[in-house]
Structure formats: C-alpha cells, structure tokens
C-alpha cells in the first residue's frame, strides 16, 4: 500500500480530537447503560406510586407522593417471603451441590488420566450441548417416582450437576495446579483426600467462587423446571409465584410492581456485590472452544 503521506496534525490537535471522541463514546455508553436499566428503575418506582401517578406521562422516576400501600398489600395477599425463601434455599443448595460435584469430578478428570476418565469426560461434554428443556419431562417423572414433587428435593433434582462446572474446574486444575506439587505431597506421605482438601481446594478458590455465583443465579432465575415440579402454593419459587400471581384477575399494576421490586432489589444488589466473580464465571464459559 502506497498511501500518500498525509501532513501530520500537530499533537495538540490530535489530543483534542481524541478527547472529543472519548467524550462522545462515554456519552453514548452512559445513555445506553441507563436505558438498559430504565425498565427496572421504573418498575421499582411504580412500586411506590399511587394508582393515579402510575398513569401520568412522562413516567416519574421519583414518586411525587410515595406510598407503601402496594408493598404492604402484596405482602399480606401473597406468601411472597416464603417464595423468596424457597428460591433462596433452592439456589444456595443447588450452588453448593454443583460446586462440590464439579470440584471432585473436575479434579479427578484433570489429574488421574486413564482411558475411562477420557470416556467419562467426553460423555459429560457431549451432554452439555443438550438443553435442560429437552429432557425435563422424563426428569419430572423421575422426581414423581421418588416422591419429590412440590418439595425442595424435587427442585434440586434438576440442578445437582453442571457439565460446564466440571469443565471449568478441570481447566483450572490443569492450568494452575502442577503435578509436581501433588507428587511432593504424596512423597511426604499425604493421603489423596488430604491433598484434595488441603492443597487442591484452596488453589481452586477463585474458580469455585465464580462457579458458585453462576450456579446460584442459574437456580435463582430458573423457571420451567420449578413451574412443573413445584405446583402447590407453599412450594412455589419466587419466579413461579410471581408469574402465576400476575395472571390473577384482581391484581393491579401497583401490587405487581411492588412484588417485582421486592424480588429485584436484593438480587441486583447481590449481583453488584458479586459482579467480579460472576463476570469471571460467565467470561470463561465463552472460552469453551
């Protein structure tokens, strides 16, 4: 390429141009970011509005006459707190189960190579492609025959293992735990279980933290499985409870917004707190290939 030599702009001009561009990009991203969360902000605002204010245009972000009526109404109408508790218990237990099964299987698959392990790993990877929705109906009948419908156990049945979690731990073990370290411990007479608990797990803290947060949000936002497995009001998760609540005749927008806000605010706060972990976990999911 023989581009004709351009007259070089002075460095001051360049810097000013660069600053203007930076400012423009910042402005675009700020506006876009605000627009992304605007629906949620308005929803939370609606929770504190009177019916009349909810209809006003343009919608106000800070209610003129804030009221707690919607929130108290929804809390007395529905077992909202019970549903939140169900979801929370489900999410925490699922995240624990997934972290434990992934840590054990991922470590063994990484550090105890054999033909059987290769086959197992290939099977785990192959099933990772199959979406949950494809096999949830047979799984429902398994939960039924175990007598686990409408219980926490039934919810958990679908969320005990995660192929991606096993994969994530295996990659981390391969990259961050050298064989020599394990060999040295073995020569010193350490048992395999001691090595796993005292050497491997502490080194996997970052990866397991990311996986835990990922698994927590996966269960927290689960919908189709809880909808079919937990069908009695006391066993609903918050997602299912809200979805069924909103189809009721007598429900008005204020109460719906209030119920939604009660769920949204803590999960957004939790996410903002755990953002680093979460982003790490999700980002590594894209590096499968």
């Amino acid at each position: 390429m023989n581009a004709p030599a351009k007259p070089l702009p002075s460095s001051g001009q360049l810097r000013r141009k660069r600053q203007a561009l930076d400012f423009l990009v910042d402005a675009i991203l700020l506006v876009f970011g605000l627009m992304m969360i605007l629906p949620l902000i308005l929803l939370v605002a609606n929770a504190f509005k009177t019916p009349a204010e909810m209809l006003s245009w343009p919608p106000s972000i800070i209610p003129a006459n804030p009221t707690l009526d919607n929130i108290t109404a929804v809390l007395s109408d529905t077992p909202l707190m019970l549903w939140i508790f169900n979801s929370f218990a489900f999410a925490v237990l699922s995240a624990m189960a997934i972290s434990i099964t992934s840590a054990i299987a991922g470590y063994l698959l990484a550090k105890f190579p054999s033909r059987i392990m290769n086959v197992l790993f290939a099977i785990i990877l192959a099933t990772a492609i199959v979406p949950f929705e494809v096999y949830m109906i047979p799984l429902y009948f398994q939960a039924q025959s175990l007598g686990l419908l409408n219980s926490l156990g039934g919810l958990l049945l679908g969320y005990l293992v995660m192929s991606f979690g096993i994969f994530l731990v295996r990659q981390n073990v391969i990259h961050s735990i050298p064989d020599e370290l394990l060999e040295a411990a073995r020569i010193d007479g350490a048992g395999e279980i001691w090595i796993f608990v005292r050497i491997v797990l502490p080194l996997l803290r970052g990866a397991l933290g990311a996986l835990f947060v990922l698994a927590f949000f996966q269960a927290w936002t689960a919908f189709a499985w809880p909808l079919i497995v937990a069908t009695t009001q006391p066993s609903y998760t918050i997602e299912v409870g809200l979805a069924l609540f909103q189809t009721g005749f007598t429900v008005d927008l204020g109460r719906l917004s209030a119920a939604s806000a009660i769920v949204l605010v803590p999960s957004v706060l939790l996410f903002v707190l755990l953002r680093r972990n979460f982003v790490e976990g999700v980002a590594s999911s894209g590096l499968k290939e």
Binding site: A3, D26, G33, I104, I137, L139, L227, E239, R275, F278
Partner: protein
C-alpha cells in the same frame, strides 16, 4: 502397582458424581429418545412402540407448526439484534476501558441478564401495555397511533424479541469483551501507523479476527432463544390467565401436550425435534470454525 491403586482410587472417588450425573442427565436424555418412539398417555399403563408415528403426526400438526415458526422467528430476531449490537458496544467499552465509568457500563448492560426473569418481564409487560404503558404514550408524542403490542400476533412476537434481546445482550457483550482483550495489540498499532482510522480497524481487523467469538455468541444466543418460555409466559398471556395463547413456542407446546393433553410420547418427540435443532446449530458452528482453521 502404584498406578493401579491410583486408578482404582480415582474411579471410586468419581463414582458418586457420575452416578448422580447419569441419573439426572444421561437417563432422562435416553428416556426422551425412547419415549418419542412410544405412545404413552399418562393415564394408560402400557406404552406401545409406534416407531416414528409421533414424528409423522408432528409434521401435520398445525399447533406444532405455529410453535416452530414462532420460536424460529424469535430466535433469529434475537440473533440479528443482539450480535451486531453487542459487538459494537463491546468495542466501545473496550475503547473506554480506562474510563472511570467502565464498571458502570459493564454492570448496567449485564444486569438484565441476571435479574429474575419474571419481574423483569413484568416491567416490559407494563411498558408494552396498550392502555397504561409508556411506550404507546411515547409514540403518541410523535403522532403514532397506539398499538396493541401484546395482543396483535405480529407485534407480540416483536415484543418478545425485544425482551429476549434486552436480556441476551449483556452475555454477548461480556464474551465479546473477552475477545477484544485477547486480540493482538501489535496488529492495531501497525494499522494505525498505516493511517487506518478506528472505524477501519474495527471493520477490517476486529470483525474478521473475532469470527470465532461471533460464531460462539451467535450459536449460544440462538440455542437459548430456541428454549424461550418464561418471557412468553409472562408477556403473552391474556387477561383470562391462559398463558401463551398469543405466542405459542416449542417449550410451551411441549408442556401443554404433557400436562394438559397427557400425551407424553408425543411431547417427547417435540423435545427430540428441539434437540435436533440445537445439534444442527452446534454442528454448523463447529464446521465453520474448522473451515477457518483449515484455510490458515
């Protein structure tokens, strides 16, 4: 001897996890394949083998066609909106990595991806609401007639696509950001020395270099959109509380066949169709990736 002991230890230790995995993943996947070839109504005891009859019936089933078409429109609609937009946003965020707002950009774009589906869908249901919603109010400012966003069949599909794209965007941006961080800096410096503008580098360098990421994001977006259900359940349910009358999607049709019509074998054959779609998409992704590797 030591090697043998280690092998036995590893197999014993992994056995419980594999047992759980087999019970909650492999077994139901096998069952769905088996059931799809059988006629099983929940109420009857026997499940006669009927070969591909379920699939034959599916191809003539008007409701299934509707579900398949709607789901495909949603999936490709989300793809077309999400992937290019995510790439541009990721490029802008990457360009401003050192901005003091960088964390704000990432967080706000990602929040819709992690918040509970139903409350988020509820916010959009209000926005789209024909009488009360701010969207129609906004349109009327520009002199546009109010639209029945959630009742008109076409508009309700568009509404679902908007909601799903809003949620899928954060994930795609995040994966693209990882991609941008891994691009070789030297290439961009060389391009700059040759007088390429930022836009030119994006067009001629980033887009081709990020092709593997784009393929991954594209297929991941499509696959998750083919499983769309909760969004439709909330947005497109009518006043009587019969969910999803307006927009029938595959998962909804499957669940209805199982729990309303008690036709489990038939629903299983629908699940197999969904699986085949996902497998084809994944296969396309891998073969396109390989093709690129071969040319190098």
């Amino acid at each position: 001897m030591l090697k043998r002991r280690r092998l036995i230890f590893s197999l014993l230790a992994i056995a419980p996890v594999i047992a759980i995995f087999a019970y909650v993943r492999l077994f139901p996947i096998g069952e769905i394949l088996r059931l799809s070839l059988h006629k099983w109504d929940i109420l009857s005891k026997n499940k006669p083998f009927i070969g591909l009859a379920n699939f034959q019936e599916l191809f003539g089933d008007r409701l299934f066609h509707e579900a398949l078409i709607n789901t495909s429109i949603i999936a490709f609609g989300v793809l077309v909106i999400t992937v290019p937009l995510a790439m541009v946003l990721a490029a802008l965020i990457f360009y401003r990595t050192r901005s003091r707002f960088a964390g704000f950009y990432e967080t706000t774009i990602f929040i819709p991806h992690v918040v509970s589906l139903v409350p988020a869908a509820m916010a959009w249901k209000w926005i789209f609401d024909a009488r009360l919603g701010p969207l129609n109010a906004l349109l009327s400012v520009f002199g546009i007639e109010p639209q029945a966003w959630l009742f008109d069949p076409k508009l309700s599909l568009i509404s679902v696509i908007i909601l799903c794209s809003w949620q899928a965007l954060g994930y795609a941006v995040l994966i693209y950001l990882v991609g941008f961080k891994n691009l070789p800096k030297s290439l961009y410096e060389a391009a700059k020395l040759d007088g390429a503008s930022g836009f030119q580098s994006f067009w001629h360098l980033s887009i081709p270099l990020l092709k593997p990421i784009s393929l991954y994001v594209g297929v991941a977006t499509l696959v998750s959109a083919f499983n769309v259900y909760a969004q439709v359940y909330v947005l497109a349910s009518d006043a009587q509380g019969a969910p999803g009358r307006q927009v029938r999607v595959l998962v909804l049709d499957m669940l209805e066949n199982t729990f309303r019509n008690y036709r489990v074998g038939y629903a299983a054959s629908e699940a197999v169709v969904l699986l085949v779609i996902v497998l084809i998409l994944t296969f396309i992704q891998f073969s396109l990736l390989r093709e690129k590797g071969a040319r190098k």
